[in-house]
Amino acid sequence: MDKSVAVIGGGVAGIETAAELGKLGYKVMLFERDSELGGNVRNWDRLFPSRRPAKEVVENALASLNGGISIYASTSISSIKKENGAFTIHSSDSKQFQAQAVVLTTGFELFPAEKKEEYGYGIFENIITSRELEKMFSDYGKPRMTNGKPPHRVAFIHCVGSRDEKVNRPYCSKVCCITAVKQAIEVKEAIPTAEIFCFYMDLRMFGHGYEQLYKEAQVKGVNFVRGRLSETSEAAEGRVIIKVEDTLASKPMRLTTDMVVLMVGMTPATGTDKILQSLGLKTNEDGFAPVKDVHLASTQMGVEGVFIAGACSGPNNITDSINEARSAALQVHGYLNGE
């Protein structure tokens, strides 16, 4: 077949889309700005709700890529133009590629926690992001303070850079609550004497197995407090003092912790807005890529021949990203056959 499809972004959604299109016999160009495929999942240790190793998902996805797929790593796409029913894809190092259909799978980046100045990320010791905690698990099997010792009191802060007008991110990032619950259990199992707290505004346990994981966390002794972190300050020996309100008791509360984990939200990947602009599309009100119809055409976009999958359109989890990827591939197939 001489029809080619460009897939922009080599995370799990992009890999899955490419794999399905490859199986259907299309020539696929898979572009990834990083030197390796795998996207954000590469930086994760274990996945909710079953806590299986993240690299299983990445390896599984990569294994399904066949010979008809050309991988262009370290290639950043700057713009895409539609001309005479086909697409010209421009890379930032001035190369050009032609395709008959495009799938956007540029995914997300994590919210830069230093923007929440009052949380002291990058200023006080022992304040880390959820991703940095995953890396500690990969590297050491347990969290570690800057002085090398294991923490005995850990506070997870939900909604960092999500549901927050002050940093212009009013939306919910979907997966941070369940990630916090998973990580809380993991820390408790790694350091059984540790006191673990999760400070949440709401607990979004929407998926299969999530509510059960929350219950398991409670059984293991994780403390859940409904209240949002207002500020951190540094105590002696790099410990962190946090101030929250126990809203259910209507009383402010303070405690000194050894480590604070910020559940950073998802933010649109840089460069996606420029690609959208070149296609004549605007970002949606959250800054992510807009889908054609949220119920009936959630893998299609406002331009014929452009499709979308994964966290490119908004915060998403792996299960749904992979499903969208497969759906988008089928939509591309239909489009290229005149449907």
């Binding site: 219950k215 059984v219 859940f224 409904r226 008791a249 402010p252 303070r254 405690l255």
Partner: protein, 111 residues
């Protein structure tokens, strides 16, 4: 000491660095459902005692977790042990048993 007509005020915040959590630990150790509460408030909504006093089982267990042990023991006396809270709890917390355990500790932990 001088009296200038005013004095410093004690903070009313919870301080988890100094909170007394002996009672909370005792309840968690003696009732496997103590930690399952999700603070939904169904118990307090149906509660008989709450119609005539400000008793709330949800609030009571939360206060205990924050170290308010003395006042909690007095609060637990308001419960009529009717069991309506145990019927409605979506997490199957054995609320009635927890009240009985709290009352027991008044006799045992602090004699």
């Amino acid at each position: 000491m001088v009296d200038f007509g005013y004095g410093s005020v004690k903070t009313n915040n919870f301080d988890l660095d100094t909170a007394k959590t002996e009672l909370a630990s005792y309840l968690a150790a003696n009732d496997a459902t103590f930690n399952l509460c999700i603070a939904c408030g169904a118990c307090a909504a149906t509660c008989t005692a709450s119609k005539f006093t400000n008793f709330s089982f949800r609030n009571l267990t939360n206060q205990i977790r924050r170290g308010e042990e003395e006042s909690s023991k007095k609060e637990a006396a308001k419960c009529m042990l009717c069991g309506k809270c145990t019927l409605v709890c979506p997490r199957n917390v054995n609320t009635r048993n927890i009240i009985l355990l709290i009352r027991e500790t008044v006799q045992t932990i602090h004699r």
